[in-house]
Symmetry: C2
Subunit: 285 residues, 2 copies
């Protein structure tokens, strides 16, 4: 077990080429922004089981943060992250500098319409272009067979999948279920921002969403169920950005509640922390 840390795309490509020449039939990539938690660990374990070689990337990507967002404050814990990845049997940690990813004169942006429309985009208009561009660069650098993303960032997962398919990148984009605390709170590196009091209230987001999903699955009017969930989190001090049910495959608004795959997605601020979550919704009979 020997974790190699690689800082340039050229070195990463050399490693991957050497693995291919040596007969590695499947290579996985797990893109992260570090501050690794059990959700990341589950992604790495899935990748480790499925593939001969695993590359984890660690890059806090400045272009997906707006100026008023938490780029500077985002937790950076590379030493702890390296120890976790070494214990998980990861082969390479690719941790480039900002200059390596965005050298002077960098001028290219990849934008994805379709699944990026609405939801997060209404509140973070440059977010998905930042994500799509940096993930494309990571995939081009490593050319993995599979890349693993958490369903916690469900819209991001669909945007990345669309980008990879549209550009014809030879990488299968794999989504894995959200990992939660015992009380239902979705794991997120940003949970570290929560005060003890906020942490105690935070699980209400998931609980309210689950209750609304049950009411919709039982045939209740979706508008009423969603409005009640919004009222519940608002009265607990959340400031919701959105709480909606969309087509789980396209993220388009739902036309037919009984036949389309359904996904409930929400974002809400609690103090200075912005929480997002999403869950499947069973079709009403």
């Amino acid at each position: 077990m020997n974790l190699n840390v690689v800082r340039t795309r050229g070195e990463l490509r050399q490693r991957v080429d050497a693995w291919r020449r040596a007969g590695a039939s499947t290579i996985a990539m797990v893109p992260t922004m570090g501050a690794l938690h059990a959700g990341h660990v589950a992604l790495v374990e899935s990748a480790r089981r499925a593939c001969d070689r695993v590359v984890v990337t660690l890059f806090v990507n400045p272009t997906q943060f707006a100026p008023n967002e938490d780029f500077a404050a985002y937790p950076r814990t590379e030493d702890a992250d390296r120890a976790k990845l070494e214990a998980l049997g990861v082969d390479v940690l690719f941790a480039p500098s900002t200059e390596e990813m965005y050298p002077p004169g960098f001028a290219t942006t990849i934008s994805v319409a379709g699944p990026s429309e609405g939801l997060e985009s209404a509140f973070r208009p440059h977010f998905f272009a930042g994500v799509a561009t940096v993930v494309a660069k990571l995939l081009v650098a490593g050319m993995p067979d599979q890349a693993y993303f958490g369903e916690k960032d469900y819209q991001q997962l669909l945007v990345v999948r669309c980008m990879a398919a549209d550009l014809g990148l030879p990488t299968e984009i794999i989504g894995r279920p959200t990992v939660r605390e015992a009380d239902g709170l979705a794991l997120s590196s940003r949970n570290a921002y929560l005060s003890p009091d906020e942490r105690a209230r935070a699980p209400l987001l998931h609980r309210s969403m689950s209750e609304a999903a049950q009411r919709i699955a039982a045939g209740g009017p979706p508008t009423d169920a969603l409005a009640e969930a919004v009222a519940a989190i608002r009265s607990a001090g959340f400031d919701p950005d959105y709480l909606e049910v969309r087509n789980a495959a396209s993220l388009a608004p739902v036309d037919d509640w009984r036949t389309e795959p359904l996904r409930m997605l929400a974002a809400a601020r609690l103090g200075r922390t912005r929480l997002i979550d999403n869950i499947p919704v069973a079709n009403p009979a």
Copy 2:
């Protein structure tokens, strides 16, 4: 000598992978929209000399045409193109359908700031995003070592080079000199639109540019030289979109005429045909 025509990106990738496995050390791609003329032939000959294998692509890319432009009228001469490419010893012609390149749900756009700003973009605002996106898809599909573009589309050459570098594609973007008729007119598939009378006047664009370049190199005021070139082509019935000198590397406006590399670029309509051209400009002493 045996030209293989391939219609899908999957088939193209299989061919290229087989060449790599068989030891081809260098693969070239020459992206075209067909209607091949001596300018394309020169690109293919350069590629043929430099690389073990040559792929020519033929795709009239709808996303780089605005609704009021000539997508429907653009010349399509695949049989003649195939015969030329076979004679030139090209290995594969990749000629996909529109549906192969843009299947339902396609939603991704690659845009490049920097060299795309101004000049053509002021008149064809969606052109370079269309070009950058389709060329990225072609390069990802074929992963060539080199891709050849004509300097006739000088701004396009710089945009494609920037895109490929920014995304980290492993392809060197090579520009080759514009091929001209004996009277100086730059070869273009669109020259076929010119009436006999327009064809007789068309070389004045290049002649006026060359005269202006000589005056600037001799130390004349650039503004005057360019204004006279504009007046000359206008009096011959051209309707100029732009005629400017820019930094040849960045396409930024020129600060220091004596030290920066200089390129004069122009676009002008003559009847229903839009002609573009560009030439180097020597620095004044």
